[in-house]
Symmetry: C2
């Protein structure tokens, strides 16, 4: 587990001197959620912020008749619902795709941490801003791109994020999403996701089988998806604290 917290540090832009903050976080209880279980349901009262240590989770919303939209994925190092104690009811659900291990951080601990360590608070806020930016790109994806472009874009995004989290090796990464998951995330049918994936395979862009994704031609895939990495804000280039560039 030790290697997973650094993953969070990087994603959040903390340097080693903030290690003490990390130590405090590790005091929070670790929880395991089985694959395909719900971690939080819409309508619940928010109980804790969650820091994903391992596994893949998603945030989703559904309609009374069963239609379901995945609105985001949580990779190891990602926070769910950081500031959730400011709102009374959850407006979305969180589900585990694979088995998920996470830290359940009580609101008081989070508040205390934020007050003691302003840079930590800033880093957490930044993390939320990036999440909101990704949400916007998804809306563009679902609203404007064709099925091919949508699937390609999602694959590229996940691959880039997994690589940034050190969870890819070369051009390959684990890929636990089913085609139904991809369908719910892109707003197309699982049947059509299947045909779209076959096209991408036929065009020599990807390999995808038995939960492994291999990107054969990332440049062509990015062009097809009109992928502009800016929205991920991967470079930590905001206000560099204390003048260190």
């Amino acid at each position: 587990m030790a290697h997973l917290i650094p993953n969070f540090e990087r994603s959040v832009g903390l340097s080693a001197e903030d290690g003490g903050a990390i130590e405090q976080l590790r005091a929070a209880p670790t929880v395991d959620a089985p694959a395909r279980s719900d971690i939080v349901r819409e309508g619940d009262a928010p109980m804790a912020a969650r820091l994903v240590l391992s596994g893949l989770a998603c945030r989703y919303k559904d309609l009374p008749d069963g239609r379901r939209q995945i609105v985001g994925f949580f990779l190891p190092g990602d926070f769910c619902d950081l500031n959730v104690s400011l709102l009374r009811r959850m407006d979305h659900s969180i589900g585990a795709i694979t088995q998920v291990r996470y830290l359940a951080i009580p609101p008081e601990q989070l508040h205390g941490l934020a007050e003691q360590r302003p840079r930590m608070a800033q880093a957490l806020l930044r993390h939320e801003l990036v999440a909101a930016s990704i949400q916007r790109e998804w809306l563009l994806n679902v609203g404007q791109r064709t099925a091919r472009e949508r699937v390609a874009h999602l694959l590229v995004e996940l691959f880039v994020r997994l690589r940034a989290a050190n969870l890819a090796r070369g051009d390959t990464c684990d890929f636990p999403l089913t085609q139904t998951d991809l369908a719910d995330a892109t707003g197309i049918t699982s049947v059509h996701v299947n045909r779209t994936l076959q096209e991408l395979r036929r065009d020599g862009l990807i390999e995808l089988a038995s939960r492994k994704l291999r990107i054969l031609d990332i440049e062509r895939l990015k062009r097809l998806a009109m992928f502009n990495p800016n929205y991920l804000h991967l470079a930590h280039d905001g206000h560099a604290p204390d003048g260190e560039s």
Copy 2:
């Protein structure tokens, strides 16, 4: 203009005792943007947070080939890009639908305010969380609902938000959006928006003409749209400050 800042206070959940903070905000320069102009372009370095005083603005993203997705609307009292100084480049654009008057608040002023007045900081954070929640509902809207449902949902949301901002009279409100705007916000074609609006009119649900919207049957419209108001978090029911309910 005096009546517009209270509109912001309510939307953000501040009580009268925070009036001093409001006064400080009014020190920021007021700017007018002409209708149909861009206020911020994707790729710009973020310069200031903006508090809309009057008019209607939107946040949008576009693709290299011209396709465009509106990802949110800013009503009077709404903040754009509150914490934008934490990210180096804008990942989206902001455009004025009508003429828009806003306060341009420099980052330093905002930071100072947040430090002096923790309740203000909390209120601003809450505002951002609600904006993120609305984004998620939009993704559900565009990803899962049919054209009829999408348009109905957007109309209900805008009406409810305008009413909450005291910008509706009875069942009627100003509605400056063109059918092209509605199309860009819902991910359908303007031609199809037109036909969809005609259906809603034929079914006795709305009247919409010459920039005026009238809701004839809000309950039926909500049912059609599967509108669940939770996501707007309109009741200020988070941490009630200092025990006042």
